[in-house]
Protein backbone atom coordinates (compact mmCIF):
# COMPACT_ATOMS: atom_id res chain seq x y z
CA UNK A 1 0.00 0.00 0.00
CA UNK A 2 1.24 3.43 -0.76
CA UNK A 3 1.02 6.41 1.48
CA UNK A 4 -0.27 8.67 -1.34
CA UNK A 5 -2.43 11.39 0.07
CA UNK A 6 -4.63 13.61 -2.09
CA UNK A 7 -3.38 13.52 -5.72
CA UNK A 8 -0.73 16.12 -6.49
CA UNK A 9 -2.31 18.77 -8.77
CA UNK A 10 -0.38 19.10 -12.01
CA UNK A 11 1.47 22.41 -12.13
CA UNK A 12 2.10 22.01 -15.85
CA UNK A 13 -1.01 23.77 -17.03
CA UNK A 14 -0.31 27.47 -17.38
CA UNK A 15 -1.54 29.30 -14.28
CA UNK A 16 -0.83 32.81 -15.56
CA UNK A 17 -4.27 33.57 -17.05
CA UNK A 18 -4.26 37.27 -18.00
CA UNK A 19 -6.22 39.18 -15.25
CA UNK A 20 -9.08 40.36 -17.43
CA UNK A 21 -12.20 39.22 -15.52
CA UNK A 22 -14.08 41.69 -13.30
CA UNK A 23 -12.90 39.86 -10.15
CA UNK A 24 -9.30 40.09 -11.29
CA UNK A 25 -9.77 43.81 -12.11
CA UNK A 26 -10.39 44.43 -8.38
CA UNK A 27 -7.02 42.99 -7.51
CA UNK A 28 -3.59 44.56 -7.61
CA UNK A 29 -1.17 42.94 -10.05
CA UNK A 30 2.56 43.66 -10.07
CA UNK A 31 5.03 42.31 -12.64
CA UNK A 32 8.81 42.67 -12.77
CA UNK A 33 11.96 40.94 -13.94
CA UNK A 34 12.91 39.71 -10.46
CA UNK A 35 11.17 39.21 -7.14
CA UNK A 36 12.14 38.40 -3.56
CA UNK A 37 9.44 37.34 -1.09
CA UNK A 38 10.49 37.31 2.56
CA UNK A 39 8.18 35.96 5.26
CA UNK A 40 8.61 38.01 8.45
CA UNK A 41 6.92 38.05 11.85
CA UNK A 42 4.80 41.03 10.81
CA UNK A 43 3.82 39.77 7.37
CA UNK A 44 5.36 39.35 3.93
CA UNK A 45 7.84 41.67 2.23
CA UNK A 46 7.91 41.70 -1.58
CA UNK A 47 10.90 43.29 -3.37
CA UNK A 48 10.34 43.76 -7.10
CA UNK A 49 13.20 44.91 -9.32
CA UNK A 50 13.65 45.51 -13.05
CA UNK A 51 10.82 46.98 -15.23
CA UNK A 52 8.30 47.04 -12.41
CA UNK A 53 4.67 47.67 -13.43
CA UNK A 54 1.73 47.79 -11.00
CA UNK A 55 -1.88 47.62 -12.20
CA UNK A 56 -4.41 48.84 -9.64
CA UNK A 57 -8.18 49.19 -9.93
CA UNK A 58 -8.04 52.21 -12.26
CA UNK A 59 -4.41 53.24 -12.23
CA UNK A 60 -1.07 52.03 -13.52
CA UNK A 61 2.38 52.83 -12.20
CA UNK A 62 5.90 52.04 -13.37
CA UNK A 63 9.28 52.28 -11.65
CA UNK A 64 12.67 50.62 -11.35
CA UNK A 65 12.18 49.06 -7.93
CA UNK A 66 9.20 48.48 -5.66
CA UNK A 67 8.79 47.16 -2.15
CA UNK A 68 5.40 45.97 -0.92
CA UNK A 69 4.67 44.99 2.66
CA UNK A 70 1.59 43.05 3.68
CA UNK A 71 0.27 42.94 7.17
CA UNK A 72 -0.43 39.89 9.29
CA UNK A 73 -0.57 41.71 12.62
CA UNK A 74 -4.33 41.29 12.66
CA UNK A 75 -5.07 45.03 12.63
CA UNK A 76 -6.09 44.82 8.96
CA UNK A 77 -7.33 41.96 6.80
CA UNK A 78 -4.81 39.17 6.89
CA UNK A 79 -2.34 39.69 4.06
CA UNK A 80 -3.63 43.23 3.27
CA UNK A 81 -1.17 45.64 1.65
CA UNK A 82 0.08 48.03 4.31
CA UNK A 83 2.62 50.10 2.33
CA UNK A 84 4.11 50.33 -1.18
CA UNK A 85 7.44 52.08 -1.78
CA UNK A 86 8.32 52.76 -5.40
CA UNK A 87 11.74 54.16 -6.27
CA UNK A 88 13.54 55.11 -9.51
CA UNK A 89 11.71 56.80 -12.44
CA UNK A 90 8.31 56.54 -10.79
CA UNK A 91 5.37 57.37 -13.09
CA UNK A 92 1.78 56.92 -11.89
CA UNK A 93 -1.23 57.46 -14.15
CA UNK A 94 -4.84 57.57 -13.04
CA UNK A 95 -7.36 58.85 -15.55
CA UNK A 96 -5.97 62.06 -17.10
CA UNK A 97 -3.71 62.74 -14.12
CA UNK A 98 -0.03 61.77 -14.24
CA UNK A 99 2.42 61.97 -11.34
CA UNK A 100 6.18 61.56 -11.67
CA UNK A 101 8.81 61.42 -8.93
CA UNK A 102 12.01 59.73 -7.84
CA UNK A 103 10.23 58.11 -4.93
CA UNK A 104 6.60 57.39 -4.02
CA UNK A 105 5.21 56.02 -0.80
CA UNK A 106 1.65 54.67 -1.06
CA UNK A 107 -0.38 53.94 2.09
CA UNK A 108 -3.57 52.21 0.84
CA UNK A 109 -5.25 52.00 4.23
CA UNK A 110 -5.01 55.76 4.85
CA UNK A 111 -5.50 56.72 1.16
CA UNK A 112 -2.30 58.75 1.20
CA UNK A 113 0.51 59.05 -1.35
CA UNK A 114 3.80 60.84 -0.59
CA UNK A 115 5.91 61.93 -3.59
CA UNK A 116 9.56 62.97 -3.19
CA UNK A 117 12.67 63.60 -5.32
CA UNK A 118 11.44 66.08 -7.92
CA UNK A 119 7.73 65.28 -7.76
CA UNK A 120 5.26 66.66 -10.29
CA UNK A 121 1.52 66.10 -10.78
CA UNK A 122 -0.06 67.09 -14.09
CA UNK A 123 -3.54 66.92 -15.60
CA UNK A 124 -5.71 68.86 -18.03
CA UNK A 125 -5.91 71.85 -15.67
CA UNK A 126 -2.22 72.42 -15.16
CA UNK A 127 0.74 71.08 -13.23
CA UNK A 128 1.98 71.27 -9.64
CA UNK A 129 5.52 70.61 -8.47
CA UNK A 130 7.57 71.19 -5.34
CA UNK A 131 10.05 69.65 -2.97
CA UNK A 132 7.65 67.12 -1.46
CA UNK A 133 3.98 66.44 -2.17
CA UNK A 134 1.32 64.64 -0.16
CA UNK A 135 -1.84 63.50 -1.94
CA UNK A 136 -4.69 63.04 0.55
CA UNK A 137 -7.12 60.74 -1.23
CA UNK A 138 -9.80 60.90 1.46
CA UNK A 139 -10.37 64.65 1.12
CA UNK A 140 -8.95 64.93 -2.41
CA UNK A 141 -6.32 67.47 -1.44
CA UNK A 142 -2.67 67.88 -2.48
CA UNK A 143 -0.27 69.60 -0.09
CA UNK A 144 3.05 70.76 -1.50
CA UNK A 145 5.97 71.38 0.85
CA UNK A 146 8.83 73.84 0.19
CA UNK A 147 12.34 72.49 0.18
CA UNK A 148 15.08 73.00 2.80
CA UNK A 149 16.99 75.16 0.32
CA UNK A 150 14.01 77.40 -0.36
CA UNK A 151 12.52 75.54 -3.31
CA UNK A 152 9.02 76.91 -3.50
CA UNK A 153 5.88 75.03 -4.61
CA UNK A 154 5.15 75.80 -8.26
CA UNK A 155 1.84 75.78 -10.13
CA UNK A 156 1.68 75.95 -13.91
CA UNK A 157 -1.72 76.85 -15.26
CA UNK A 158 -2.77 75.99 -18.78
CA UNK A 159 -2.84 78.76 -21.40
CA UNK A 160 -5.85 81.13 -21.36
CA UNK A 161 -7.17 79.57 -24.59
CA UNK A 162 -7.32 76.12 -23.09
CA UNK A 163 -8.94 77.53 -19.90
CA UNK A 164 -11.63 79.01 -22.19
CA UNK A 165 -11.98 75.59 -23.88
CA UNK A 166 -12.23 73.87 -20.50
CA UNK A 167 -14.94 76.30 -19.29
CA UNK A 168 -16.85 75.79 -22.56
CA UNK A 169 -16.67 72.02 -22.04
CA UNK A 170 -18.25 72.23 -18.55
Amino acid sequence: NTAATEPVPSANESESVEATSAAAAQKTVITSDRLDVINTEKGNQFIFSGSVVIHGEDFIAECDRMEVRTDSSGKNDFGAISVIEATGNVVIQQGDRIASAGRALIHPTSDEVILEDNPKVKDGRGAVSGYRMILHGADRKISVEPGPDGEQPRVELPSLESIRDISNDE
Partner: protein
Protein backbone atom coordinates in the same frame (compact mmCIF):
# COMPACT_ATOMS: atom_id res chain seq x y z
CA UNK B 1 29.73 16.54 9.48
CA UNK B 2 29.86 14.10 6.49
CA UNK B 3 28.46 11.21 8.59
CA UNK B 4 25.69 13.53 9.84
CA UNK B 5 24.58 14.53 6.32
CA UNK B 6 24.63 10.94 5.10
CA UNK B 7 22.59 9.82 8.09
CA UNK B 8 20.10 12.70 7.61
CA UNK B 9 19.58 12.04 3.92
CA UNK B 10 19.30 8.30 4.48
CA UNK B 11 16.76 8.75 7.26
CA UNK B 12 14.75 11.08 5.04
CA UNK B 13 14.62 8.62 2.22
CA UNK B 14 13.84 5.80 4.62
CA UNK B 15 10.96 7.89 5.94
CA UNK B 16 9.79 8.54 2.40
CA UNK B 17 10.11 4.92 1.48
CA UNK B 18 8.22 3.83 4.57
CA UNK B 19 5.55 6.40 3.94
CA UNK B 20 5.16 5.39 0.38
CA UNK B 21 5.57 1.65 0.57
CA UNK B 22 4.48 0.94 4.10
CA UNK B 23 7.25 -1.63 4.59
CA UNK B 24 9.35 -1.31 7.71
CA UNK B 25 12.49 -2.95 6.29
CA UNK B 26 13.15 -0.17 3.73
CA UNK B 27 16.51 -0.31 2.08
CA UNK B 28 18.17 2.92 1.02
CA UNK B 29 19.79 2.81 -2.46
CA UNK B 30 21.23 5.88 -4.27
CA UNK B 31 19.11 6.85 -7.32
CA UNK B 32 16.20 5.15 -5.58
CA UNK B 33 12.91 6.34 -7.02
CA UNK B 34 9.85 6.95 -4.92
CA UNK B 35 6.42 7.67 -6.29
CA UNK B 36 3.51 9.69 -4.89
CA UNK B 37 4.93 10.49 -1.55
CA UNK B 38 4.47 12.96 1.28
CA UNK B 39 7.19 13.85 3.70
CA UNK B 40 6.80 16.06 6.79
CA UNK B 41 9.58 17.97 8.53
CA UNK B 42 9.40 19.16 12.15
CA UNK B 43 11.56 21.64 14.06
CA UNK B 44 13.27 20.95 17.38
CA UNK B 45 10.10 21.93 19.29
CA UNK B 46 8.13 19.33 17.34
CA UNK B 47 6.26 21.94 15.32
CA UNK B 48 5.59 21.14 11.68
CA UNK B 49 7.81 23.22 9.38
CA UNK B 50 6.78 21.89 6.02
CA UNK B 51 5.09 19.10 4.09
CA UNK B 52 6.81 18.05 0.87
CA UNK B 53 4.86 15.95 -1.62
CA UNK B 54 5.32 15.04 -5.24
CA UNK B 55 4.55 12.60 -8.00
CA UNK B 56 8.08 11.24 -8.03
CA UNK B 57 11.33 11.75 -6.12
CA UNK B 58 14.77 10.64 -7.23
CA UNK B 59 17.52 10.50 -4.62
CA UNK B 60 20.42 12.18 -6.49
CA UNK B 61 22.97 12.13 -3.68
CA UNK B 62 23.31 12.58 0.08
CA UNK B 63 21.76 15.98 0.09
CA UNK B 64 19.77 16.35 -3.13
CA UNK B 65 16.38 15.02 -4.18
CA UNK B 66 14.93 15.70 -7.61
CA UNK B 67 11.13 15.98 -7.45
CA UNK B 68 8.55 15.83 -10.23
CA UNK B 69 5.34 17.81 -9.58
CA UNK B 70 6.59 19.22 -6.31
CA UNK B 71 4.20 20.66 -3.71
CA UNK B 72 5.73 22.26 -0.64
CA UNK B 73 3.42 23.53 2.11
CA UNK B 74 5.32 25.79 4.49
CA UNK B 75 3.93 26.75 7.88
CA UNK B 76 5.03 30.11 9.26
CA UNK B 77 5.98 30.39 12.90
CA UNK B 78 2.58 31.91 13.61
CA UNK B 79 0.94 28.66 12.57
CA UNK B 80 -1.90 30.49 10.88
CA UNK B 81 -0.12 31.50 7.76
CA UNK B 82 0.70 28.81 5.25
CA UNK B 83 2.43 29.27 1.94
CA UNK B 84 2.17 26.67 -0.83
CA UNK B 85 4.87 26.33 -3.50
CA UNK B 86 4.21 24.18 -6.58
CA UNK B 87 6.55 23.44 -9.45
CA UNK B 88 6.70 20.80 -12.20
CA UNK B 89 10.40 20.23 -11.50
CA UNK B 90 12.41 20.99 -8.38
CA UNK B 91 15.62 20.09 -6.66
CA UNK B 92 15.44 19.81 -2.88
CA UNK B 93 18.65 20.36 -0.88
CA UNK B 94 17.59 18.52 2.22
CA UNK B 95 20.32 19.52 4.62
CA UNK B 96 20.30 23.17 3.55
CA UNK B 97 16.51 23.38 3.79
CA UNK B 98 16.49 24.78 0.24
CA UNK B 99 14.79 24.14 -3.10
CA UNK B 100 15.46 25.42 -6.60
CA UNK B 101 14.05 25.03 -10.10
CA UNK B 102 14.61 26.64 -13.45
CA UNK B 103 11.06 26.05 -14.59
CA UNK B 104 7.85 27.61 -13.36
CA UNK B 105 7.03 28.20 -9.71
CA UNK B 106 3.52 28.97 -8.38
CA UNK B 107 3.15 30.39 -4.91
CA UNK B 108 -0.12 30.69 -2.98
CA UNK B 109 0.18 32.76 0.15
CA UNK B 110 -1.90 34.90 2.45
CA UNK B 111 -3.63 37.48 0.31
CA UNK B 112 -1.47 36.87 -2.74
CA UNK B 113 -0.48 34.53 -5.58
CA UNK B 114 2.93 34.73 -7.20
CA UNK B 115 4.53 33.03 -10.18
CA UNK B 116 7.65 33.13 -12.31
CA UNK B 117 10.59 31.12 -13.57
CA UNK B 118 14.11 30.34 -12.42
CA UNK B 119 13.41 30.30 -8.71
CA UNK B 120 14.91 29.48 -5.32
CA UNK B 121 13.40 28.88 -1.91
CA UNK B 122 15.62 29.27 1.20
CA UNK B 123 13.76 27.90 4.21
CA UNK B 124 16.16 29.20 6.83
CA UNK B 125 15.76 32.76 5.58
CA UNK B 126 12.05 32.21 4.84
CA UNK B 127 12.78 33.67 1.42
CA UNK B 128 11.58 32.93 -2.11
CA UNK B 129 13.50 34.33 -5.09
CA UNK B 130 12.14 34.50 -8.64
CA UNK B 131 14.64 35.61 -11.30
CA UNK B 132 12.57 35.66 -14.47
CA UNK B 133 9.17 37.04 -15.32
CA UNK B 134 7.78 37.57 -11.80
CA UNK B 135 4.09 38.33 -11.36
CA UNK B 136 2.21 38.82 -8.09
CA UNK B 137 -1.55 39.24 -7.74
CA UNK B 138 -2.68 40.70 -4.43
CA UNK B 139 -6.27 40.15 -3.32
CA UNK B 140 -6.20 43.70 -1.98
CA UNK B 141 -7.50 46.35 -4.40
CA UNK B 142 -5.81 49.77 -4.37
CA UNK B 143 -8.20 52.47 -5.49
CA UNK B 144 -7.50 56.10 -4.92
CA UNK B 145 -3.93 57.06 -5.78
CA UNK B 146 -3.98 60.40 -7.57
CA UNK B 147 -7.63 61.41 -7.41
Amino acid sequence: MRFHSRFLAASILTAITILSCGSLQAEVKPDAEVKSFTFRKFNDQGLRIWDLSGQEAVFVNDNVLRIIEMQLDITSTKDQEETRLRSPNAQIYVEDNMATGDGFLYVQGNGFNAEGKDWEWRGRERRIEINDGAKVTFDDAIRRILK
